[in-house]
Subunit: 499 residues, 2 copies
C-alpha cells in the first residue's frame, strides 16, 4: 500500500472516531441542558452504547496496522502528517494498551468513587473516603505502568491533560509564583478598600441573557456555529463546527453569569479557531488543557476585567439595567468586577487566590504520588496548606479536602492546568501588547478583532502541533514564566486596593 493510501485510510478511521465522539458530546450536552428529570435511565443506556461503539472504532486493529506502516514510512510524510500520526499513535495506545479487566475495574471504581465522595462530603466524613482515594491512586499508577511511564505515574497523569508538561517544570513555576503571590494577596486583603458587590441585586434573567449574548458576540463568538443555554454547571462542549456553551443565572449576582460566559466564550473562540477541515485529526484539535484555559482566562480576565472593556460596555450595562445600577458608581462597579476575597472554596475564588488553591492541590497530589504523604494524613496536610497559602483554616473537611469531585474518579494531574493557563494567558497578553500598544484603546471602542485574529493565527490555527511550553516559547520568544502573571495581577489590583 502506498503511504498516501495508508494515510487516507487512517483519516477515514479518525473521522469515524471523531464524529462518534462529537455525537457523544452532543448527547452529553443534551443531558445537562434538556434531559427530562426521569429520563436518566434511558440516557445511561444510550451513553453505554455510544461508549461501546466509540471504543470499538478507536481500537479497530486496522488503525494499529496503518500506524505501524506510516511510522516505518515517516520519511515520506509531511511535517503535518507526522503530527497526525504521532498523536493518533498516542490515542491508539491509550485505547488499546489497557487490559479489558483494568478498564472495567476503573469504570466501576469511577462510579463507586463518585458516590462515596458525595456521601463523605455531605457528612464531612473523610475516613470513609480513604479506601477510595487509595484505590484511585493505585489504579492511576497501574495505568501509567501499562502505558510505559514506569514510576513516573504523576507525570503521566499530568501529560494526559497537558501533553509535554511535567511535575518538575510545574514545581519550579509554582514555587516562584507562590513566593510572590502570598504576600501580594496579604497586601490586598489588608487594604481598607472593600468591593460592594452586594449592591448589585435584582437583575432579571432575560436582561442578563441579552446583555451577555451581546458581549460574547462582540468578542467574536460565532453564533452561526454555536449557542449558549442554561445548565446547572456551566461548561463549553462540542467543537468549532457546533459549540455548545452554557451558563447559569442568579438575579443578585449578575457578574457571575457574565464572567462565566466570557470564560466559556474564550474556550469557544479557541475551538472555533481550530481549522474546520482538520477537526478529526491533531491538526484541528486543542493543544491541551493549559492552552485551552489560557484562552478562557485571557478573555475573562485580561480582557473582561479591564478598564477599557468597561469603558465600552458600562454604558450598555446601565442602559439595560437602569434601575439596578442607578445607585452604583463606576468605581464601585469596576471594583465589584475585580473583587478579591480569599475563600476556602476553589470554585468561589477570585482570579488571584484561585492560583493558590491550585498550588495547594498540586503540592498535595505530588506528595501522594511520591508516597511522602499518606492518604489518611491528607486532611491535616490540606488544612496546614490552606492556612499557609490562604490564611484560612477549613472548619471541617467538607469545606476542605472533600470539596472537589475530581479525585473521586481518579482525575489527578488535572488541577495544575488551571494555573498554567493563567500564566500562559498573561505571557501571551503582554506579548500582544508589545505588538499592538493600542490594544486597550481598541477595546474601549468595542473592537476586539485584533486580539482574536492574533490568537487565531498564533494559537488556534496551530492545533496540536506544539505543546504548551513550545507554543508559548514560539509565540513570545521566552520560556513560560510566572512573572507576566504576577506583573498582570499587580498592575490590575494594586492601584485598586493599595493606591
Amino acid at each position: 500500500m502506498s503511504t498516501d493510501t495508508a494515510y487516507n485510510e487512517l483519516l477515514t478511521h479518525l473521522k469515524r472516531v471523531h464524529y462518534l465522539g462529537s455525537v457523544a458530546s452532543l448527547v452529553g450536552w443534551d443531558e445537562q441542558v434538556n434531559l427530562p428529570p426521569d429520563s436518566a435511565d434511558q440516557r445511561a443506556e444510550q451513553n453505554a452504547v455510544l461508549a461501546e461503539l466509540s471504543h470499538e472504532a478507536a481500537t479497530n486493529s486496522r488503525i494499529g496496522t496503518l500506524l505501524t506502516e506510516l511510522e516505518q514510512a515517516a520519511i515520506n510524510l509531511s511535517t503535518d502528517q507526522q503530527v497526525v500520526v504521532r498523536e493518533a499513535r498516542k490515542e491508539y495506545d491509550r485505547a488499546t494498551k489497557l487490559p479489558a479487566d483494568y478498564v472495567r475495574e476503573k469504570a466501576i471504581q469511577g462510579s463507586v468513587g463518585y458516590h462515596a465522595w458525595a456521601k463523605a462530603r455531605a457528612a464531612s466524613d473523610f475516613a470513609s473516603y480513604i479506601p477510595v482515594l487509595e484505590k484511585n491512586i493505585k489504579l492511576a499508577k497501574q495505568e501509567a505502568g501499562y502505558l510505559g511511564w514506569g514510576d513516573r505515574s504523576y507525570d503521566y497523569m499530568i501529560d494526559k491533560h497537558d501533553p509535554g508538561m511535567t511535575a518538575a517544570v510545574i514545581t519550579k513555576l509554582f514555587s516562584e509564583l507562590k513566593t510572590e503571590l502570598v504576600p501580594l494577596v496579604r497586601q490586598i486583603t489588608s487594604s481598607k478598600v472593600k468591593p460592594r458587590s452586594d449592591k448589585l441585586t435584582g437583575f432579571p434573567v432575560d436582561g442578563q441573557f441579552k446583555f451577555l449574548r451581546e458581549v460574547t458576540e462582540k468578542l467574536g463568538f460565532n453564533y452561526r456555529r454555536g449557542r449558549i443555554d442554561v445548565s446547572l454547571h456551566p461548561f463549553c462542549s462540542g467543537n468549532g463546527a457546533d459549540i455548545r456553551m452554557t451558563t447559569r443565572f442568579r438575579e443578585d449576582e449578575p457578574l457571575g453569569a457574565l464572567f462565566g460566559s466570557i470564560h466559556e466564550t474564550g474556550h469557544g473562540l479557541y475551538e472555533q479557531g481550530l481549522p474546520l477541515a482538520h477537526h478529526a485529526t491533531a491538526l484541528g484539535q486543542a493543544a491541551g488543557m493549559g492552552v485551552h484555559e489560557s484562552q478562557s482566562r485571557m478573555w475573562e480576565n485580561q480582557v473582561g476585567r479591564s478598564r477599557a472593556f468597561w469603558a465600552f460596555f458600562e454604558p450598555r450595562f446601565r442602559e439595560e439595567f437602569p434601575a439596578q445600577t442607578s445607585d452604583v458608581t463606576s468605581d464601585e462597579l469596576y471594583l465589584a468586577v475585580n473583587k478579591v476575597s480569599p475563600t476556602l472554596i476553589r470554585v468561589e475564588a477570585d482570579e488571584i487566590t484561585y492560583n493558590l488553591h491550585i498550588i495547594l492541590r498540586f503540592e498535595i497530589e505530588q506528595k501522594l504520588f511520591a508516597g511522602t504523604l499518606a492518604v489518611k494524613d491528607l486532611p491535616q496536610a490540606w488544612n496546614q496548606s490552606a492556612e499557609e497559602l490562604l490564611g484560612l483554616t477549613p472548619p471541617d473537611d467538607r469545606m476542605g479536602v472533600l470539596q472537589d469531585v475530581h479525585w473521586s474518579d481518579g482525575a489527578f494531574g488535572y488541577f495544575p492546568s488551571y494555573c498554567l493557563g493563567n500564566m500562559i494567558a498573561a505571557q501571551l497578553w503582554y506579548h500582544a501588547l508589545e505588538l499592538r500598544p493600542d490594544l486597550t484603546a481598541d477595546f474601549a471602542r468595542g473592537d476586539f478583532s485584533w486580539l482574536l485574529k492574533w490568537l487565531q493565527t498564533n494559537v488556534h490555527a496551530q492545533g496540536k502541533r506544539h505543546d504548551a511550553l513550545a507554543l508559548t516559547k514560539r509565540i513570545t520568544g521566552q520560556e513560560l514564566s510566572p512573572q507576566p502573571l504576577l506583573r498582570y495581577l499587580r498592575e490590575r489590583y494594586l492601584p485598586l486596593y493599595c493606591a
Copy 2:
C-alpha cells in the same frame, strides 16, 4: 443453545438497535430545535456515521441465525415472545433483503427527488417532476419485489406504515366515507354561520406557551419524561422514556399552536403508555401509524374541540389573555375552535375536509400503482378530484399536485393512515362513551384521567401485539367502520352550522 439463551441474545441485539435508533432520533430532534445555522455540514456527517452503525447493528448476521433458531423452536416461546420474534423477523428482512445497490440508489434518489420537488413546486412546473415520480414508483415496486410482495406493491407500501392494512380494506372504508362526507361538507359550507377566527389576534408567545403547557399537562402528558420546544415544523419524536414534542407560534393564530400541541400530546401519551421495559421490542412499540394517529386525533378533536373541554379551559384562557378575549364571546370562541372551511392545501385543512384530502391522495396512489393512471396525467386527475371532493380547483400545480413533499422521496401509502386514524379515534371514542357515559362531565371538571387510563390499558399497553383492524375489533367488538367518524362529525358540526 437453549431457546431461552437464544431469546436473550436476540434481546441484546434488539436493545443495541433500539438505543442507537433513539440516539439518532435525539440528534434529529436537536437538528430541528437547536442546530446553529452553519453547523449543518457536521450534522450530516454525524447522521451518516449513525446511519452506518445502525445499519451494521440491524443487519448483524447473528440476528438472522437467532431468528431462524427461535422460529424453529416457536413451540417453546410464549405468545408475547412469538410477537417479538415475528416483528424482529420483519425488521431483519427489511434491513437485509434489499441489495446494497438498491439501497444506495434509493438513498441518492431520495435526495435528488427532494430537491427536484422543491424546485418544481417553487416554479409550479410539474413536467420537470415527472421522471422523479416515475422512478420513485419503479423503485417502490422493486422494493416490494425484493421483500416477497410480488405485484402487491401498493399493499406493501401501505403495510410499511400500517401493518396488516390493505388497499382493498381502505377502498371499502374510504368510499363509504366519501359518499356521506361530501354532502355533509356541502351542507356545512353553505351555512350562513361563519367562524370569526380573525378576532383572535395579538396573543403573546409566552402566554401561549404557558397555557398550552398547562393544558397538555392536565391531559396527562408526563413532563418528567418529556418536553416541548419550538421548531419550524411541529413533530413528536423520541419514545416514552424521553418524548420530545415541538410546536410553533403565531401571535394571530393562538389556536394553531394549542391544537398542534394537543395533537402531538396525543402521540406523546401513546408513546408514554407503551411499556417502558419493552421499548426495544415489539411489545413496547406502537402498532402502526393509523393507531398512532388515532391517539393524536382523539385528544385533538374528540377531546380538545368539545364543549366540555372548553367549559373547563375557557376561563383559564380568558384569565391568561384578558385583553385579547374581551371582545370575543364564548360562542365565537367555540366556533373558531371548530372552524370548517375547505382549502386547497391539506396541511391547512379543518378536521372534516382533511379526510377528503386523504381520500384524493389514496385514490390517486392506487391508480398510479395499478398503472391505470400515468404520471403525466396526474395534474388533471388531481384537479378533477379536488373539484369533486372539495369543490375547489387548484389555480396551479403548486396549490395542487405539487403541494406535498411525501412522494418526492417515495413515501407512498403513508397518507391513508391519517384518515384511518380519524376513523379509529371516533370508533374508540363512542365505545369509551358507552363504558363511561359521564366522560364529558369529567372533562368539564378538568379530569381526563379515565380516558387516558382506558387508552393506556386497551391501546398503549398492547404494543404491536395487534394490528389496527384487530385492535379496533378487540376493543369495540366491531369491525373498523367510517360510521362512528361520520356520526361524530355530524354531532359536532351540524348543531353549530346548521341548527
